[in-house]
């Protein structure tokens, strides 16, 4: 079949391949129009580009914030050799890691600081379930012989040696479950 004729036939087929649409379909669709249609916002083009690239929302937000920090560092006169950008990025990543994780990191920094000072501290962070808010994250032996324990949620408590043993036993039992 010649191309011109084929095109004519296709147009004809389009006329034939029609069927009546259910009359209340339009009404059904109209009922679903949201009460507040989202207005066009200036500045959303960047976000739309990111959506088109099919990045996840949190990755996209992180990308935007990191870009802003980089721009602020470049044009804000901060010395980029002092590791400011890296530190900011690490903070951001920590922030995106979730609250529990950032609390654990904060206690970990304290543990490293005490250890550096030569105190008797023990870290349990590698052995516990971070979702268990009452798990002991760190113990610190005081000069008076009592112990200061720090929990996952950041609480601190002064306990005796017996109480410490009980706490640790309960924690290990919880983990075993």
């Amino acid at each position: 079949m010649k191309e011109k004729r084929l095109k004519e036939r296709l147009n004809e087929l389009a006329e034939r391949a029609k069927e009546p649409v259910r009359s209340d379909l339009a009404e059904q669709i109209k009922q679903q129009i949201p009460h507040r249609l989202e207005r066009h916002k200036i500045g959303w083009d960047t976000v739309n580009i990111i959506i088109d690239l099919r990045m996840s929302k949190s990755v996209a937000a992180a990308a935007i914030i990191i870009t802003l920090i980089l721009l602020a560092n470049l044009f804000g006169g901060r010395d980029s050799t002092d590791g400011g950008i890296v530190r900011d990025s690490i903070l951001l990543i920590k922030y995106w890691g979730g609250a529990e994780r950032s609390e654990v990191s904060a206690v970990r920094s304290k543990y490293e600081h005490l250890l550096h000072r030569g105190e008797e501290v023990t870290w349990y962070g590698d052995r516990i379930d971070p979702k268990d808010r009452s798990a002991v994250l760190m113990q610190h032996k005081r000069r008076d012989g009592r112990y200061c324990v720090t929990f996952v949620d950041g609480r601190e408590r002064d306990v005796s040696a017996e109480e410490l043993v009980k706490l640790l036993t309960r924690m290990l039992q919880n983990k075993a479950k």
């Binding site: 079949m1 084929l6 095109k7 296709l10 147009n11 029609k18 649409v21 679903q32 249609l37 066009h40």
Partner: protein, 206 residues
């Protein structure tokens, strides 16, 4: 001499558009203005504009779904879903000229997602209304109908991308530029798909 007169007449005719051409151009201008104003209202969050959009396009989108091979019920569902998605992405709509292709692109994506989830579902044909052609008679008419049926089968057997190209341009009557945007490809790619589709159809329809 006579030939010369004829060609001069033709030239004169092409320089001065006929009433029909003028009417067509006026309609086109009117439609474009209507689309521009509709898009401006949609972007400002006007709900009546959204209802107008439904009235303008629901039949077209339904038929598009049917021509892409979905059955009646699924086509209705996917048409609704396309409009829901359109409300959701209203902020991405830029200008009136893009309205057609924007809506078809959403509908095409909805259809593609459906096929991805239901890979093994069979294509549904569209039962077209009978339109007897009175200018042809007897044998010619039978031959003509057979040819159309052959063509319909051949279109439905085309790979989805090629079928979409044919449907968008020849059946939904989108321009090449609009259809390319609706298919989410460059114009060149769209033209090459269309050529491949036409070559295949020419081989299959006698």
């Amino acid at each position: 001499m006579e030939k010369k007169v004829k060609s001069t007449e033709q030239k004169a005719n092409s320089a001065y558009p006929t009433t029909q051409q003028r009417e067509l151009a006026r309609n086109k201008r009117h439609l474009s203005q209507r689309q521009e104003s509709l898009v401006a209202r949609l972007r400002s969050g006007d709900r009546t504009a959204a209802a107008e959009l439904v009235d303008m396009y629901y039949e077209q989108i339904y038929l598009y779904m049917r021509r892409l091979g979905h059955d009646r019920q699924i086509s209705e569902d996917l048409t609704q879903e396309s409009f829901l998605s359109a409300w959701h992405h209203i902020a991405q709509l830029r200008d009136g000229k893009a309205l057609n292709s924007w809506l078809y692109r959403i509908a095409g994506n909805i259809s593609r997602l459906y096929w991805r989830k239901h890979r093994h579902k069979e294509l549904a044909g569209i039962e077209g209304a009978d339109m007897p052609d009175h200018s042809k008679s007897g044998r010619d008419l039978v031959e003509h109908d057979e040819q159309l049926e052959q063509l319909n089968d051949a279109v439905s057997r085309l790979p989805i991308k090629l079928r979409q190209s044919v449907v968008l341009h020849y059946m939904q009557q989108l321009t090449i530029a609009e259809a390319a945007v609706a298919a989410g490809v460059r114009e060149g790619t769209f033209k090459s798909r269309l050529n491949r589709a036409l070559r295949t159809l020419r081989r299959q329809v006698t």
